[in-house]
Symmetry: C2
């Protein structure tokens, strides 16, 4: 049972509900939509991410014999339910925003249309996949906006990620958002994402001197020569780099970068730059890591810190200031009839929805959430990606998604490109057609309860 | 390449450092220790968790042919490095605190002693495994202290976990800390953790009435009958439960619980309790979910809310108020000589360490961090768990770990059992022997740099 693909990586209630549907013979077509109920305080937009992993999950979803055997032995499920689960393949349709799309509260990122058992079963894993990747892509996009082309960004977060899958998916999500790469080797092996990394403090500590460590490292990795200079004293480390770079130059090896990982980065980067420049090392770049986020990146660059690149780790990979989305995967239609929830504070919009985005002078100018059959423009944001359980197109390349994401970020209203909250949220309106369906559905429900 | 076990789920710098060690022939024994540099503001102690998954990772760690092939093709690594990696198995010793141990800043949770290449390579995944599980166990322990035996707790977080592995490991970490189970089916299938769950709002919405939904569900799942009553109107839902419970009683089915998932839980739980009691349903329990954490659990129970159990999801599984630990895996000894770092704000303690804990009248009364060969009491907290790459004992049962954790929580000083920060932190002192090694090492380094 592989946690990354097992349909048992789900909430028990999905299976107990299926048992009730099976016993009662309820299996009409249902539409479920995933959306954020609200944006985290610290986000003025989201970058949709995770669709490709959802498609792969849906394409391959099946219960193995050992999984069915486990369910049988649990004593919770009838033979009919076990048979239903054994035969279950995803046969539905999926509409979704392409990865890299900018989106807002209440806007569905993905809709699943399938017999209710299938559409229900996949809820847990779809939320698990989309929420996290969207969180990271959104946080990474803020870092990219903060750097604003002045420095390159690399994901350094794997060790502080919540488990293996988070680390791997975050490398992809941040690359899509505009990072140039990651430290995670497996992200290259599996996704072809550029990887970066040279040495830790332990490498310096294991040598008798910093100088020995630098030279040993460069001789062994002549094409990948970023030297970590803060193990003992950053400025002494920079002076050592100047000496070492001369020794190495005679052997045809060029020191590419120094890395600072602690201390006052503004002061240190300036002093290190000066030491390097005076030592004839103008072409050695300065790379900074250690507790970085979009604010420290912006503030350092705005203050003129001569930093060429940043490693962004913990705060990116945990989306530390917003580690979760208020989000839901809600039934919006069943057996051809719109459905909604009226729980306090959690009212949902009924019906199969579509979103249209207006543009003005190349920038986004407002979204309309409406129903699928009620066009409000030429370019709907939700597009079909699976029909009858089959994907409609091969996976997009990461380069393609990353390019599209940059176009989206470039079209953000100026206020949304800032790190601070905008004076007014981006306008997202509900169409007249959707509003009247909402009222009609609420009215019908008032009769029911 | 399985992300959960692949040694490529690591930072590139581990491999470039190994290349330098291989080229230079450096492979002496190194000791690395993992510890928290400081506790998050919202935590006055941590519960160590994740050791078992680390042992399993170390036992099985090897590069597959396809992984070695990937590394060769990358062009980054010499044939000697590839050979070294191909032969690499973990051959070292591991000392660690047993899972469920209470611990504090600066105290090593685990020490790896092995040839430096091995000890270095495993850094990323060990931090990735221990940090997250310790975060969740620590957060879960706070929820358990808040409930204080007055209500049971269940992990409901999978959907908002950062990926699949986080969801699965969090079910285990919260169970160890005193939760009675989880909603995650795979946690039962793989770990034998009790699972819970019945229905979502969609189940109610897919039926023509709440009453039909309740009856259908109970007929299909007669031994697992928690009814979700807030889809439309919680009090109307409770009245429907009273009616339905009579119908079902005649068929020998007992309604066990109702679940509230939105609204003012204090007011609603009281009114629902009253409706149930007046309707002769005194034995139906009330279960609450929705945005719970240790504070809302404590406050509801302190106010006398008649709640029998809580589902705790998002804020537990993301450790939302402290989604990461300031932690490190640091070289403390190499080739028999103590090592330390003197980077600004990141000075580390040198040498192979041990921790002793004093008790007074059954409660913890202060810890001493010292060196391995400097006993300060009878019961060292770090114990050997692997020697020469082999585990010393079979995995402990979860029940055993959970019991030991409850003993540890019971021994916490009274102030540390509260949710608010204690007036003074728990006393952790550095022994004279460790302090003089620190000074001697710093002195020697001052000569080097």
């Amino acid at each position: 049972m592989n946690p990354l693909s097992s349909p048992l990586l789900t909430d028990l209630y999905q299976l107990t509900m299926i048992q009730a549907y099976v016993e009662k013979g309820l299996n009409a077509r249902a539409s479920f939509e995933f959306f954020a109920r609200s944006l985290p305080e610290q986000r003025s937009f989201l970058v949709a991410c995770g669709l490709e992993s959802c498609i792969q999950f849906l394409e391959c979803m099946r219960f193995t014999d050992s999984e069915l055997d486990y369910l049988s032995r649990s004593g919770r499920f009838s033979p009919a339910t076990i048979r239903y689960l054994g035969d279950l393949r995803f046969s539905g349709d999926v509409y979704a925003m392409p990865e890299g799309s900018i989106c807002f509260a209440d806007e569905p990122l993905i809709r699943i249309e399938a017999p209710i058992g299938e559409a229900q079963l996949v809820e847990t894993r779809l939320i698990n996949l989309i929420q996290y990747q969207t969180l990271v892509a959104s946080k990474a996009a803020r870092c990219v906006l903060a750097a604003d082309g002045r420095a390159t960004l690399i994901d350094f977060g794997l060790r502080r990620a919540h488990g293996a899958e988070a680390g791997l998916l975050a490398a992809r999500a941040s690359y899509i958002a505009g990072f140039i790469g990651t430290s995670t080797v497996l992200a290259d092996a599996l996704f072809g994402i550029p990887i970066f990394g040279t040495m830790a403090h332990s490498f310096i500590q294991a040598h008798d001197s910093e100088q020995d460590a630098f030279i040993d490292f460069c001789l062994a990795n002549p094409n990948n020569t970023t030297l970590l200079i803060d193990t003992y004293d950053t400025l002494a480390g920079a002076r050592t780099v100047v000496e070492v770079s001369r020794t190495l130059a005679s052997q045809g090896i060029r020191v590419q970068r120094v890395r600072l990982d602690s201390g006052d980065f503004l002061a240190l980067s300036r002093e290190v730059r000066q030491i390097l420049d005076r030592g004839g090392c103008q072409d050695i770049q300065i790379f900074v890591s250690g507790n970085m986020d979009e604010f420290s990146i912006r503030d350092l660059l705005d203050a003129g810190a001569p930093v060429d690149g940043f490693g962004v780790g913990t705060k990116l990979i945990t989306s530390a200031d917003a580690p979760y989305l208020e989000c839901a995967y809600k039934l919006t239609e069943y057996a051809g009839r719109a459905r909604m929830k009226t729980s306090t504070g959690k009212v949902s919009l009924p019906g199969r929805k579509q979103i249209f985005r207006a543009h003005h002078e190349g920038r986004m100018a407002g979204d309309t959430i409406t129903l699928m059959d009620d066009p409000h423009g030429a370019h709907p944001l939700l597009v079909p990606v699976m029909i009858g359980g089959k994907r409609l197109a091969p996976p997009r390349t990461l380069a393609d998604i990353a390019r599209a994401t940059q176009d989206q970020l470039a079209a953000l209203p100026v206020e949304l490109r800032r790190l601070e909250p905008p004076s007014a949220p981006y306008p997202v309106r509900v169409s007249a057609a959707l509003e009247s369906l909402r009222q009609a559905t609420a009215h019908a429900l008032a009769g029911v309860s």
